[in-house]
Every structure is written in C-alpha cells, then in structure tokens.
Amino acid sequence: MNSRVRIKDLWNEQRIFLSRTVAAMTIVGLLSLALIGKLVYLQIIRHDYYLEASQGNRVRLEPVPASRGLILDRNGKVLVDNEPAYQLELIREQTPDLDDTLHRLVLIGMLAPEDLTQVKRTILAHRGFDSVPIRLRLTDEEIGRFAAHRFEFEGVDLHTRQTRHYPYGELGVHALGYVAAISEEDLEKIDRAKYAGTTLIGKLGVEAAYENQLHGKNGYREVLVNAQGRSVERQGAYTPDLKSEAPTAGTNLQLAIDLATQQAAETGLGSHRGAVVAMDPHNGDVIALVSHPGFNPSLFERGLTRDEFASMNDDIDKPLFNRALRGTYPSGSTIKPVIALAGLTYKVVDPDKEEFCAGIYHMPGSALLFREGKSGKHGNVDLVHAIARSCDVYFYGLAHELGVDRIAAFMAPFGYGALTGIDISGEKPGVLPSPEWKKHYFKNPAEQVWFPGETINFGVGQGYLLVTPLQLAHVASELATRGKSYRPRLVTGFQDSMGRDIPFTPIANPDITNVADADWALILNGMEGAASYGTAAAIGKGATYTIAGKTGTAQVFTVSRSAKLTQNEPERLRDHAWFIAFAPAENPKIAVAVLVENGGFGASAAAPIARAVMDAYLLNKDAEPPIAGGKP
C-alpha cells in the first residue's frame, strides 16, 4: 500500500485532463480520417467494381422456354403438338395454414390422399414465394370444381403451362416417342444453359432422336429481383431498363408416317400383340410403324408413380416394348424368297425342275426327319410353286444343297443380322447365324459346332435366325425394288420457321448386284402366287392392285421334329404369324412386314392386316393419285 497520503491536486488533474482531451480528439480525428479513407477507397477507387456487383445482384435472367416443334404426318396432319394445360399451383407464403389447405384440397378431390406427403415435401423444397405445381393436367371437370371453391383456398390458383399434346393418343407412340421431365441422366447429356427454363425432353422415338431440332432456342428476359430471388416490379422509386430476347420455336418435323395407314395398321392388329412396319421401297420412308400394345404418351409427361411404371413394365403384354424395332423373332417362311434367290444365284437349283413333297424330308446321309409345317403334302412343286405354297420340303433340300456358308453370305447384304439404321434409336440387329457366329456366340465347345441339321432348319427360317419386323419390311422393300434399298427413316424433312419444307435426301444402301433380273422375276412370280393362289390366296381377293407376299410362321415353342403341330396349344405358346408383302407387284409403292405374336398361321393372322395397310395407303383418296388397276 501507498504509505504517503495522496491529496487531490486539482490543478494537476486539470492539466492531465486537458492533455488527455487533446490526445483523445487527435485520435478521434485520426479514426475519422481512417473511416473517410475507407469510404474513398470503396466509393471512388473501387466504385466500378462494386457498381457491377450491385448490378449483378439485382438483375436475374429468367428463361423463356421455346415452344417445342410440331410433328406432322406426310400429308401435314398434326401428330404431335403443344397445348396449354391447367395445373394447380400453390404459393406457400400466401397460404395461411399449409396442412389445412392441403387437407381441404383432398376433401374436394383435387389431391389424392396418398400423394399428400410427396406434395408437401415438394412445396417445402421450394422457396416460400415460389408458385409450386401440385397437380398437373387438370380435367375440365376438375377445373370447374376448383373454380367453385377457389375463394376458400388462399395462395392456391390455376395456372396454364405448355404441355405436349398427342391428338391421337397411343397412335404411333413407339415411333413418335414421348416427352418427360428432364432426368439427371439427361442433364449430363445436354447443354444445361440451353435447357434453362425447359421442363420436358424427348425420351423415345422421334421425340428423342430429333430432340435438338424440336427443342428450339429458349429466350430470356431480365427481371429485377430482390435478395430472396423474388422478382419485383421496381426498386424503391426506380424502374431500371431490362433486356429480353424472344425464344425461337423448335423446328417442325415432317414424318413419312401416313396417318390413315398407321391407323389401319393399329386397327388391324386389334387386341393382338404384334408389330407392323410399312415402308416406301423407293426411299426408305416409314409409312407406318406400329408396336402393339402401345401406351399413352401423356402419362410420362405427367410423371408416372413408381407403381404405375412397375405395372406397365411388368405387364405381360409389355406395352413399353417396341416390338417393331427391338422384337427379334425367327423369320419363319418369309425367308424362302431369299433362299430361293440364293439357290438361283449360286445355280444349285433349276427353277423349272419339280421336286416331290410327301410332307417329310429325309436329310441325306443322316437319319434325321424334317416335317412339313402346317400346309401338309404338296406333291410335285417347282420353285415358284414352292414359294407360293410355302413348301418346306423343297427348301429343306435347297438349303442342304446351298450349305450354311453360302446362305449366310447371300443373306447378309439384305440386312439380316444388322441394324437397318432407322433414324430413331433402340433398334436390335437380330441374328444372322453361321458357323462363324456360333463359334463366337457359344462358350461351350460342344455347342460351337454347326450341325448339318441346323442348315436344313435355317432354310425355312427356324433355328438361330432372328429378325425384327423392321428388318423384314426392309427385306420386303429390297425384294420389291430388286436389290435397291434405303436407310429407313421416319423424318423426311424439316419445316422452317417460315413454314417452308426442307426435305432430306434419302440415304441409299449399296445395291444387291449379284442377282440376275430373271431370278428376281421368278421370285416375284412366287410371291404373287402366294397372294393369289398360294398360302395367302385369301388376301388377294377383291384387291384392285396385285400383291406379292409371303407368309411365315415362327415357332415360339420348340416342338419335337416328329410331333404333329396343333392349333390347340395355350395361346402364348402358339406360333408367331408373319406376313411380308409389297404392292402393286409390278410397280411397288409400299412394302409391309406384319408380325402377330402367337397369331398362329401367317396367312390367317398377319396377311389380312397387311392387306388393310396396303389398302389404306394405296387407295387413300387424300394421298397420291389413284393406283393403276382401276376400281373394284
């Protein structure tokens, strides 16, 4: 402790206080200068930088989605367009009690009770002032119902949005494809900047293959936003000058599809599972492409629930499966014209020489027996009649004479076992078997050996050979044009923004040149015969044009070679029915392949559908000039 007693020294205190005051005011001055210095730095020296930063803060680019291009049939009929649809949207911060509001929406039937949790989660994932869609594609009845209750639902309102519209529903869905919400996988493939504001993307068929053209170019407009990202009309007393750019609509696509023909094909298949592909043999234009059953493309746009998708995916009829492009089946007897051509080209067969068909073929040098299919004993048949009446025994022998190597080599240029190159994706190549193929395909050495009996089966389109309906339509085209073929195409051109058509040039495949004209003529004879007096005689009746065709029956269930086939098997074990055709025979304008799964015999199940398709195309008054051959 301080021993000295200190006395208050007022004079000294005064002196100290004054000096402290001076010091304090000096510090006050210096700190003020520091403040002003910092202000000068921010407001004068770095003014431009901060001005730009504040500009970037308040202006947001809002994308304006382009309207998606239309899809038109060959006559300009609209197959796919856009239409505004009503949807229910909710703004959370304007909704007094979210749970209560959602509950009451369920009560008036605007929301399904099972969707409640999901809807609420979606709403909460958005910002409070975002307008969140909670129900898409309302029906007229629902719109009316909500409108009547509108005043009870603060923060909930009806809004319109452009949606994809398929006026013909399921029609051509496997060709046209569908659109759906952009998935995470899609995001990796697309330029995100170009898709800002776009909600839907093509998922299959033409919608997917021509996504770039259909999408168009999104525009943008600058909007003034506040710190929460909410767009505002003005800031304080000031309305800034904002830029915008209009979107460019997507390109309209011109399809080769003929609406009437497509409808005929779908009607023809009726309740059957199957596929129809019709092509213009002179340019590869796909006039009709059906895989049946189909599905409603609009379901995907709305977004399927897990259950809905599962039930569709697990459906025994496989509606999502594109049979026309991806279904691979044994070709059955539709192979016979090609085998005959091979025989003629390799000169292993004399077309005029008759073979005797007793319904059973004994393979030379073997004890194996090969039975005639369903058409019984044919007696003496030459090549033309063998085609027309689809004599298996004749072709068993021919195949044996040719040998598998020559058959496979001859068939390859026709496009067997290879992709046709159609302009939508998903196509399967099927299988063109050969000893070489077997070696690669099988791992087990015992299975890698090509057995002579397999060649015999090959000659009638059974065994390992697998083809798609699209491939057989392609083969039919080649038979029609005597070896000329084109890459099949659904889209034949664009329509530019002025409505002018910009057609594409068809892409030709290499011609098949090793076949003599006379041989093509013989085959044509045989196929005309099939459709007039042969296996498919019924379909030629009443036709105002000549049809060249060939039936086929593809075995689903391998029946022992010696067993008799009956029509009494369970439906799904029945054979697949094929029919390929082109018409008019002398000047072909359409080539068709029809597959009816489990249809049984080609002539009865598949051929009438082909006839309906050809009628629709060739006799359609809206279409090209009437076909030579007169009226019935």
Partner: protein
Amino acid sequence: MIREEVQSSAARRTLSASARLLGALKLDGALLVGLGLVITYALIVQFSASGQDLPTILRTLFRVGLGIIVMLALARTTPNFLRNIAPWLYLAGILLLLVVVVMGHVGKGAQRWLDLGLIRFQPSEIMKLAVPMLCAAFLHDRPLPPDWRALLILAGMVALPAGLVAMQPDLGTALLIFASGALLILMAGLPVRVILILLVLAVGAALIGWRFLHGYQRERLLTFLNPESDPQGASYHINQSQIAIGSGGLFGKGWMNGSQAQLDFLPERSTDFIFAVIGEEFGLLGAVVLLLMYLFIVSRSVYLASQTSDTFSRLLASCLALTFFVYVFINAGMVCGLVPVVGVPLPLVSYGGTSVVTLLAGFGILMGLHSHRKLVGS
C-alpha cells in the same frame, strides 16, 4: 454602446429570449442543433431504408420524443444528485441484467429485452450510463491519476455489467460498456506506462477470450479478416454492405434508389447496417456530411466537458462524448469493413431499440453537467 444596443435590440431580444429559454432548460444550443440535424437526417434515411414505411418513422419519432423528455429531465439534475444516485442506478441495472439473463424475453436468439408493454427495454442500455456515472463518482473524491487499488475496483465495476451483457450474448453492447469504462479511466489520467501494460494484457486476454466466443461471433471476426472467403455465409453481411457503399460512388444512387437497400440485399438495413444505405443512396458526400455532423457533436460535447469544474462532471461528460464517437466509429467501421462485424447501432440513426433514448439521456446529463458547473460545491 447603448446606441448599438438599441439598434439591434429586436434581434437581441429574440436571441436572448431563446438563450434564456435554453438557460432555463439547462441545455446547450449548439449541441441541440447538431443532434437535431442528425435526427432529421436519420428520419430521411429510415424512411428509405424501411421501404417508405410511415409507422417506422412514427415509432422513431415517439422514441425521440421520449428521449427528449428524459434529456430535459436529466439536464435539470445537479452533478451532486447524479453522483448520489449513481450507485443505485448501477445496482438497479445489475439486477435487471440478472433478470434478463435468467428469465428474459428471447429475441433474435439472444436475451436482451424486458417487455414493458409500451416499449421493449434493454437493461444493458442503463449500464451504458450507469457504468461511467459510477466510475466518475468513485474517482470524484480520489486523487488522480488513480492508484492500483482504485484501478482494480474500477475494473470490477466495468467487468461485472460487461460480463453479464456479454452473456446475453450481446458482444456489441458489452464492448461499448467496456469502452465507456476504459475511456473514463484514460481521461482520469491513467499513466501511459500502465496503458501499454494493459494493452499487452488485453491482447493476451483476447487470445484466451476467443475460446469463449459463440460460433457466430467467431465467424463474424473471421469474416472480417477475409470477407470474400464465404460469400453466402457469414461474410454475406459485410460483402453486401461493401457492395452497397461502393456502388454508391461520390453522389450516391439517390434517395430510395439504392438497389442493395431497396431489394433487400443489404441485411438489417434500417438497423445496424443503415450506414450502408447512406453510402449507397447519398454516396461519399452523404456519408462524410453525416460524419462531420457526428464530429461536431463530439467536439462540442468534449468542449462542454472541458468547461465543467469538478472531477465527476469532467470525467463523466468527456466519457459520454468520447463513447458517442466510439459508437459511430465501431458501427461505420464495421459497415464499411474497417472493424469486425459487431452488433452496434449507428447512434441516433439506426432504427429500433431504446438506444436513442439512452443517447439523448446521456446528452441531457452532459448538458446538465455543463450548465450546473457554477453550482457545484466542493
């Protein structure tokens, strides 16, 4: 002389009339003008910062009115009276702080308020006045500069309320209470040698204190050191306020035209960050004009303090004047990125709270100390 008096008698009468009035009210005209200018400025800025909200302005006017009443009342009190009530005020403040800490109203994640119905009241505001009053009263009878024992007692007087306020947690106000105590001791003549030692100790304490800071308080400090590090997180405040000030330029974007302020990019724009609104809408010019007004108030207050004749008055008045500047510097410095972000309002200009009332009360005391300087008995 007489003739001149007669000639200008009309003018003189008016002047002397207002001087008499001020004298009767124990107020200082120059300081009143300075305060009036700043408050007018505040109302203009608050109107813009609140998004042209008239109720905001009315509430501010109500608080200013309340402040003026308190100011008038305190200006009339004598230094002796103030010295006598200082311990009681201090004690009441401590008790209220304890109440707030124990059962206070939760506001903004911190317990700072007592709801008195008409006005929500922060007991820490009392301490802003009670601490310098008690310290000045304590030193009044002692020889200056204070000895070690006195210093220890003073440190306790400051640390107790500052600690309680920091526990709320309200670091900004705790800092201001601490600053007012520290300034008073400095003005009392703390030797430079001791100041240096204390500075060293303070740095050490800061390093230890870091461990006791709340997460958000640490973040604010770190953000100050590197504002660009986390643009959406903790440094959002400071980035946006710097953008606001910087984009204002020399003349500003104009009243109610600041995009940062008007579009909500600026957080707490009518309260703690109102200085950024001034920088954005009125530019460097507007900010400097406000600073000059503040400096005028501080200088006038310090001058008034130096005119008083006793220790208590001198210390208290100068402490109130300098603390006012500390408020200004910490807030403006925080908003433009010169000091860390601490929740300190811009005195008289920030909207809300009871700080306007406390500040005007402080100026009332200051003017009272000055006008009662001849009545002091020793």
